[in-house]
Amino acid sequence: DAGITQSPRYKITETGRQVTLMCHQTWSHSYMFWYRQDLGHGLRLIYYSAAADITDKGEVPDGYVVSRSKTENFPLTLESATRSQTSVYFCASRVSTEAFFGQGTRLTVV
Protein backbone atom coordinates (compact mmCIF):
# COMPACT_ATOMS: atom_id res chain seq x y z
CA ASP A 1 0.00 0.00 0.00
CA ALA A 2 1.23 3.48 -0.83
CA GLY A 3 1.79 5.90 2.01
CA ILE A 4 3.41 6.00 5.39
CA THR A 5 2.77 3.27 7.92
CA GLN A 6 3.69 2.92 11.55
CA SER A 7 3.84 -0.18 13.69
CA PRO A 8 2.73 -1.14 16.17
CA ARG A 9 -0.37 1.05 16.52
CA TYR A 10 -0.54 0.40 20.27
CA LYS A 11 2.15 -0.74 22.68
CA ILE A 12 2.32 -1.20 26.42
CA THR A 13 5.77 -1.73 27.88
CA GLU A 14 7.47 -1.71 31.24
CA THR A 15 9.85 0.87 32.59
CA GLY A 16 13.43 0.10 31.62
CA ARG A 17 12.63 -2.00 28.55
CA GLN A 18 13.87 -1.19 25.08
CA VAL A 19 11.13 -0.47 22.56
CA THR A 20 11.36 0.16 18.83
CA LEU A 21 8.67 1.94 16.84
CA MET A 22 8.72 1.33 13.11
CA CYS A 23 8.01 3.73 10.29
CA HIS A 24 7.90 2.90 6.59
CA GLN A 25 7.11 5.15 3.62
CA THR A 26 6.62 4.18 0.00
CA TRP A 27 7.21 7.54 -1.71
CA SER A 28 11.01 7.76 -1.33
CA HIS A 29 10.63 11.15 0.36
CA SER A 30 14.00 12.42 1.49
CA TYR A 31 12.88 13.93 4.81
CA MET A 32 11.47 11.86 7.63
CA PHE A 33 10.52 12.92 11.14
CA TRP A 34 9.49 11.57 14.49
CA TYR A 35 7.16 13.66 16.64
CA ARG A 36 5.56 13.02 19.97
CA GLN A 37 2.20 14.50 20.83
CA ASP A 38 1.25 15.21 24.42
CA LEU A 39 -1.63 17.13 25.93
CA GLY A 40 -0.62 20.74 26.40
CA HIS A 41 2.48 20.45 24.25
CA GLY A 42 1.27 19.81 20.75
CA LEU A 43 3.61 18.05 18.34
CA ARG A 44 7.27 18.13 19.35
CA LEU A 45 10.10 16.96 17.13
CA ILE A 46 12.24 14.14 18.49
CA TYR A 47 14.56 13.39 15.57
CA TYR A 48 14.58 14.00 11.87
CA SER A 49 16.46 12.70 8.87
CA ALA A 50 17.29 14.52 5.67
CA ALA A 51 18.34 11.36 3.80
CA ALA A 52 19.60 7.84 4.37
CA ASP A 53 22.41 7.81 6.96
CA ILE A 54 21.76 11.46 7.89
CA THR A 55 19.93 12.09 11.14
CA ASP A 56 19.78 14.94 13.61
CA LYS A 57 18.23 15.83 16.92
CA GLY A 58 15.05 17.77 17.30
CA GLU A 59 13.55 19.50 20.30
CA VAL A 60 13.21 16.49 22.66
CA PRO A 61 15.78 13.80 21.68
CA ASP A 62 16.87 12.55 25.11
CA GLY A 63 16.19 8.87 25.66
CA TYR A 64 15.62 8.14 21.97
CA VAL A 65 17.79 6.73 19.19
CA VAL A 66 17.08 6.65 15.46
CA SER A 67 18.67 5.13 12.39
CA ARG A 68 18.06 5.38 8.69
CA SER A 69 19.96 2.80 6.71
CA LYS A 70 17.33 2.82 3.94
CA THR A 71 15.38 5.80 2.60
CA GLU A 72 12.03 4.17 3.26
CA ASN A 73 12.54 3.17 6.90
CA PHE A 74 13.06 5.33 9.97
CA PRO A 75 12.79 3.36 13.23
CA LEU A 76 12.70 5.07 16.61
CA THR A 77 14.12 3.25 19.63
CA LEU A 78 13.53 4.04 23.26
CA GLU A 79 16.66 2.64 24.85
CA SER A 80 15.26 2.32 28.38
CA ALA A 81 11.64 3.37 28.49
CA THR A 82 10.44 5.76 31.19
CA ARG A 83 6.91 6.76 32.17
CA SER A 84 7.53 10.26 30.82
CA GLN A 85 7.81 8.68 27.37
CA THR A 86 4.17 7.63 27.48
CA SER A 87 2.81 9.48 24.48
CA VAL A 88 1.44 9.24 20.97
CA TYR A 89 4.25 9.07 18.43
CA PHE A 90 3.86 10.22 14.85
CA CYS A 91 6.20 9.55 12.00
CA ALA A 92 6.08 11.90 9.00
CA SER A 93 7.74 12.31 5.64
CA ARG A 94 7.94 15.16 3.16
CA VAL A 95 9.74 16.43 0.10
CA SER A 96 9.16 20.14 -0.30
CA THR A 97 5.50 20.67 0.37
CA GLU A 98 3.25 19.28 3.02
CA ALA A 99 4.30 16.59 5.45
CA PHE A 100 2.42 13.31 5.42
CA PHE A 101 1.81 11.64 8.73
CA GLY A 102 1.49 8.04 9.75
CA GLN A 103 -1.46 6.93 11.85
CA GLY A 104 0.49 7.17 15.08
CA THR A 105 1.65 4.75 17.77
CA ARG A 106 0.13 5.06 21.19
CA LEU A 107 2.84 4.00 23.66
CA THR A 108 2.17 3.44 27.32
CA VAL A 109 5.05 2.87 29.72
CA VAL A 110 3.99 1.30 33.01
Binding site: F33, G58, Q103
Partner: protein, 113 residues
Protein backbone atom coordinates in the same frame (compact mmCIF):
# COMPACT_ATOMS: atom_id res chain seq x y z
CA UNK B 1 13.92 30.36 19.75
CA UNK B 2 11.41 29.70 17.00
CA UNK B 3 7.84 29.34 18.19
CA UNK B 4 4.26 29.13 16.99
CA UNK B 5 1.31 30.23 19.11
CA UNK B 6 -2.28 29.36 18.33
CA UNK B 7 -5.41 30.88 19.78
CA UNK B 8 -7.83 30.12 21.15
CA UNK B 9 -6.71 26.77 22.57
CA UNK B 10 -10.29 25.53 22.47
CA UNK B 11 -13.54 26.72 21.04
CA UNK B 12 -17.13 25.49 21.19
CA UNK B 13 -19.61 26.65 18.55
CA UNK B 14 -22.94 25.55 17.09
CA UNK B 15 -23.55 24.24 13.62
CA UNK B 16 -23.82 27.04 11.12
CA UNK B 17 -21.51 29.40 13.00
CA UNK B 18 -18.42 30.90 11.39
CA UNK B 19 -15.13 30.53 13.25
CA UNK B 20 -11.71 32.12 12.94
CA UNK B 21 -8.63 30.39 14.26
CA UNK B 22 -5.43 32.32 14.80
CA UNK B 23 -1.78 31.44 14.41
CA UNK B 24 1.15 33.73 15.17
CA UNK B 25 4.79 32.88 14.78
CA UNK B 26 8.30 33.94 15.57
CA UNK B 27 10.82 32.23 13.32
CA UNK B 28 14.07 33.25 11.74
CA UNK B 29 13.86 33.24 7.97
CA UNK B 30 10.30 32.18 7.36
CA UNK B 31 9.67 29.80 4.48
CA UNK B 32 6.06 28.63 4.75
CA UNK B 33 3.10 28.15 7.07
CA UNK B 34 0.89 25.09 6.98
CA UNK B 35 -2.50 24.22 8.47
CA UNK B 36 -3.50 20.70 9.41
CA UNK B 37 -6.71 19.13 10.69
CA UNK B 38 -6.39 16.34 13.22
CA UNK B 39 -9.35 14.20 14.09
CA UNK B 40 -8.71 11.00 15.96
CA UNK B 41 -5.74 9.91 13.95
CA UNK B 42 -2.98 11.50 11.90
CA UNK B 43 -2.97 15.20 11.01
CA UNK B 44 -4.20 15.77 7.48
CA UNK B 45 -3.01 18.65 5.35
CA UNK B 46 -5.26 21.63 4.67
CA UNK B 47 -3.24 24.54 3.30
CA UNK B 48 0.27 25.73 2.67
CA UNK B 49 0.88 29.49 2.62
CA UNK B 50 4.00 31.23 1.47
CA UNK B 51 2.87 34.64 0.23
CA UNK B 52 1.16 37.41 2.16
CA UNK B 53 -2.39 38.40 1.29
CA UNK B 54 -3.22 35.50 -1.01
CA UNK B 55 -6.22 33.57 0.25
CA UNK B 56 -6.34 29.83 -0.14
CA UNK B 57 -9.78 28.24 -0.21
CA UNK B 58 -11.14 24.74 -0.03
CA UNK B 59 -14.89 24.52 0.28
CA UNK B 60 -15.94 26.20 3.52
CA UNK B 61 -12.35 26.58 4.71
CA UNK B 62 -10.07 29.43 3.83
CA UNK B 63 -6.77 30.76 5.09
CA UNK B 64 -4.57 33.79 4.62
CA UNK B 65 -1.08 34.77 5.67
CA UNK B 66 0.07 38.19 6.92
CA UNK B 67 3.86 38.29 6.93
CA UNK B 68 3.91 41.81 8.30
CA UNK B 69 1.94 40.74 11.36
CA UNK B 70 3.66 37.32 11.45
CA UNK B 71 0.32 35.59 11.58
CA UNK B 72 -2.26 33.58 9.74
CA UNK B 73 -5.96 32.89 10.18
CA UNK B 74 -8.04 29.88 9.28
CA UNK B 75 -11.72 30.57 8.66
CA UNK B 76 -14.46 27.98 8.63
CA UNK B 77 -17.90 29.11 7.50
CA UNK B 78 -21.22 27.32 8.10
CA UNK B 79 -19.56 24.89 10.50
CA UNK B 80 -20.69 21.27 10.67
CA UNK B 81 -20.21 18.65 13.36
CA UNK B 82 -17.66 17.00 11.07
CA UNK B 83 -15.45 20.06 11.48
CA UNK B 84 -14.86 19.09 15.10
CA UNK B 85 -11.13 18.46 15.36
CA UNK B 86 -7.84 19.90 16.50
CA UNK B 87 -6.49 22.40 14.01
CA UNK B 88 -2.74 22.62 13.91
CA UNK B 89 -0.62 25.44 12.56
CA UNK B 90 3.00 24.77 11.62
CA UNK B 91 5.77 26.97 10.33
CA UNK B 92 8.79 25.96 8.33
CA UNK B 93 11.88 28.08 8.85
CA UNK B 94 14.30 28.53 6.00
CA UNK B 95 17.68 26.90 6.66
CA UNK B 96 18.62 25.25 9.96
CA UNK B 97 16.67 22.01 10.40
CA UNK B 98 15.60 21.99 6.80
CA UNK B 99 12.29 20.38 6.16
CA UNK B 100 11.25 20.54 9.79
CA UNK B 101 7.90 21.99 10.81
CA UNK B 102 7.45 23.79 14.11
CA UNK B 103 3.96 23.19 15.41
CA UNK B 104 1.71 25.22 17.64
CA UNK B 105 -0.27 23.48 20.38
CA UNK B 106 -3.39 23.45 18.29
CA UNK B 107 -6.93 24.76 18.61
CA UNK B 108 -9.54 22.23 19.62
CA UNK B 109 -12.79 23.02 17.84
CA UNK B 110 -16.03 21.43 18.98
CA UNK B 111 -19.11 21.97 16.82
CA UNK B 112 -22.38 21.15 18.53
CA UNK B 113 -25.56 20.24 16.62
Amino acid sequence: EDKVVQSPLSLVVHEGDTVTLNCSYEVTNFRSLLWYKQEKKAPTFLFMLTSSGIEKKSGRLSSILDKKELSSILNITATQTGDSAIYLCAVEPRGGSQGNLIFGKGTKLSVKP
